[in-house]
């Protein structure tokens, strides 16, 4: 056993990483909760968002934290358009088709990025990129602490949108009873697209929070998306609070198991949790609907 002076920083850093995982998972769970589809393009869209944040800084000199305010609406529109004009019409309302269409989108986005930018790994250099916060028991990277706070704000904002706005109410209505919502005059196609847009917008924010301390290459999203699937499955598909707690939990697990087992085995730990939960806690998976 490592002494607690290694363990505690690992736990704290795990929480910080977990917050960003939670945000990625939040987008996934939102889309699942309302549309009842697993969005296989989520990871590729995160990669796209990371590239967007990278080039916003490289070409326009936009600070990643300011880029949030530009990229979030852009990715909302992107997500809205994808659901409204590609996934919805192409899938003809069949679950199996949605699987294939989102997989196709993932393949297109990932490889278009590979084609355009090659497999090189890129990073941004920011003056505050390496600043740390000394807590006495642990050093924490400032950008990751900022990320943690932003995630909490975003989660709160999402919760408010879902519970207080008319669109949020419509989303919850569609999630519960699609046909009934349609009959009471809700434009289901529009609500689906809004939800997909919000889920995609979460990725833009996550990308802006990640880019100061992380890197980007055409395959980077995949690592996150399987983690996000794990969280969503752990926390219960469609639950905002569940994905927040699940995200923090998985972040800690990864950080601590990485400490004892090394990085690639730590990653395997996540897959194992994922498979075990999928196989043995299907009630947690399907939520109330199945």
């Amino acid at each position: 056993m490592a002494a607690h002076h290694i363990l505690l920083p690992a736990v704290l850093n795990g929480l910080l990483t977990g917050a960003v995982y939670a945000l990625v998972a939040l987008g996934l769970t939102l889309i699942y909760g309302v549309l009842h589809i697993v969005n296989f393009a989520h990871g590729a869209l995160l990669t796209a968002a990371l590239f967007a944040a990278f080039f916003a800084h490289r070409l326009l000199g936009l600070d990643p934290y300011l880029a949030i305010f530009v990229l979030t609406p852009l990715f909302f529109l992107l997500g809205y358009g994808l659901q409204r004009f590609v996934i919805g019409p192409a899938a003809h309302g069949e679950d199996r088709n949605i699987l294939l269409v989102t997989l196709g989108l993932a393949v297109i986005i990932e490889n278009a990025l590979l084609f355009a930018f090659r497999a090189d790994t890129r990073t941004v250099n920011l003056p505050y990129g390496f600043e740390v916060l000394d807590l006495g028991v642990a050093f924490l990277a400032v950008p990751r602490v900022i990320g943690f706070c932003v995630v909490l704000i975003v989660a709160l904002a999402l919760w408010l949108i879902l519970n207080l706005t008319d669109t949020g109410k419509a989303m919850r209505a569609v999630a519960k009873e699609k046909l009934g919502a349609e009959l009471s005059g809700i434009d289901v196609g529009h609500i689906y697209a809004v939800t997909f847009g919000l889920g995609t917008a979460c990725l833009a924010i996550a990308a802006c929070l990640l880019i100061p301390t992380y890197y980007v290459n055409p395959h980077v999203g995949n690592a996150f998306v399987l983690v996000a699937f794990t969280i969503v499955v752990l926390g219960g598909m469609g639950s905002v609070a569940g994905s927040l707690i699940g995200g923090l939990f998985v972040g800690v697990i990864e950080s601590v198991s990485g400490l004892y087992l090394g990085e690639s085995l730590g990653q395997m730990g996540i897959f194992l949790i994922f498979i075990v939960v999928l196989l043995f806690r299907p009630s947690g998976l399907f939520g109330e609907r199945a």
């Binding site: 589809i37 697993v38 296989f40 590609v86 019409p89 192409a90 899938a91 003809h92 679950d95 199996r96 088709n97 699987l99 294939l100 269409v101 997989l103 196709g104 989108l105 993932a106 393949v107 297109i108 990932e110 490889n111 278009a112 990025l113 590979l114 084609f115 090659r118 497999a119 055409p218 399987l226 699937f229 499955v233 690639s264 085995l265 990653q267 395997m268 897959f271 194992l272 994922f274 498979i275 999928l278 196989l279 043995f280 299907p282 998976l285």
Partner: protein, 329 residues
């Protein structure tokens, strides 16, 4: 169910077998060999996905296991290549049976089945990239030994005939499944699992059987890959590329049909070659095209190329005034 007759299958195989007599070009033979290998893996996917309705996103798990077992038994244990190949197929079938038993016992279907197959493939990929027996990050190289008893040949034609023979077996297996009671159960489970259960069918068992056969066929593709290229690493064996090609070909060609995977593999691989000609060796471009084809087929041609051909033929029959119109079956 009205699939193609056995005579038609044998005719197609016989026609394909003559290909090396028309061309001595290595490039053409290589193209046909790789296309048939993909068609073989895709036929495996088709058994489970096409007839059983269970979409796997992780057929790499079976392809890779077939490949690694074939390679490792030869390199590390000095086994005969043919024996290693057969054990590789059995190993892939075993992996299929284990994943299937776990997944179907837990009642996973739809997105969740796709997710769990994907996760298993990724788990195996990471495992293969760190353990020593697979050669970790370096991969495993099979020693050059160009003798037929070592499953290696001087020229490409024998490789082509072998992959054709393997593919022919898969065609016949799928044809037999189509005609069998098991095939009827499988389709019943695909169409309506609850109704199938009410008729006394055990869906988990039927799906498990389909997954085992499916994995064995995909594993044969992996074993052949190793003998043809004499190299395997974790990215090739368990990477997403083969999982995607495995599902793309049947969907493009005609899902749940005997010839769908072959048609689809030909179309997809021809498209890949064309992109190579147009875009050079740029990485990713062929996959971008594959992704677009996948979405377009799902959107506009749910029965794939086979469905389009059938529709075109029906239209021609209708247009031709000399031919009496046949009732639709």
């Amino acid at each position: 169910m009205s699939g193609p007759s056995m005579a038609r299958i044998l005719l197609v195989v016989a026609l394909l077998a003559t290909a090396p007599m028309f061309t001595a070009s290595n490039a053409v033979l290589n193209f046909l060999t790789v296309t048939l290998m993909i068609a073989l893996v895709a036929q495996g996917w088709n058994v489970l996905g096409g007839y059983g309705g269970q979409y796997s996103f992780g057929h790499a798990a079976f392809f890779g296991t077939g490949a690694y077992v074939t390679a490792i038994l030869q390199v590390r244990y000095g086994a005969n290549a043919w024996a290693a190949f057969v054990v590789g197929i059995a190993g892939a079938a075993l992996v299929g049976a284990v994943i299937g038993a776990l997944a179907f016992r837990s009642g996973l279907k739809g997105s969740y089945f796709a997710l769990v197959t994907l996760a298993f493939a990724e788990l195996l990929r990471i495992l293969a990239s760190v353990t020593t027996i697979t050669g970790a990050g370096v991969g495993t190289l099979v020693a050059l030994d160009l003798r037929p008893q070592a499953f290696q040949f001087q020229s490409r034609a024998p490789f082509y005939w072998i992959v054709l023979a393997l593919f022919a077996v898969s065609l016949i297996v799928v044809r037999m499944i189509e005609q069998s009671r098991f095939g009827a159960w499988l389709v019943a489970v695909r169409e309506n699992e609850d109704a199938a259960k009410a008729l006394g069918i055990n869906p988990s068992q039927v799906k498990l059987g389909a997954m085992t056969i499916s994995a064995a066929i995909a594993g044969a593709g992996g074993g052949f890959y190793v003998q043809y290229f004499l190299f395997i690493d974790s990215g090739i064996a368990y990477g997403p590329w083969i999982s995607i090609e495995a599902l793309l070909a049947p969907i493009v060609g005609g899902i749940g049909t005997v010839f769908g995977p072959l048609l689809g593999a030909l179309v997809v691989k021809a498209l890949g070659e064309m992109t190579m000609l147009l875009g050079g060796d740029a990485p990713g471009l062929d996959l971008v095209i594959y992704g677009c084809v996948l979405i377009l087929i799902v959107a506009f041609a749910p029965n794939g190329v086979a469905g389009l051909l059938l529709k075109a033929r029906q239209r021609l029959t209708l247009l031709n005034p000399l031919r009496p119109e046949r009732p639709h079956g």
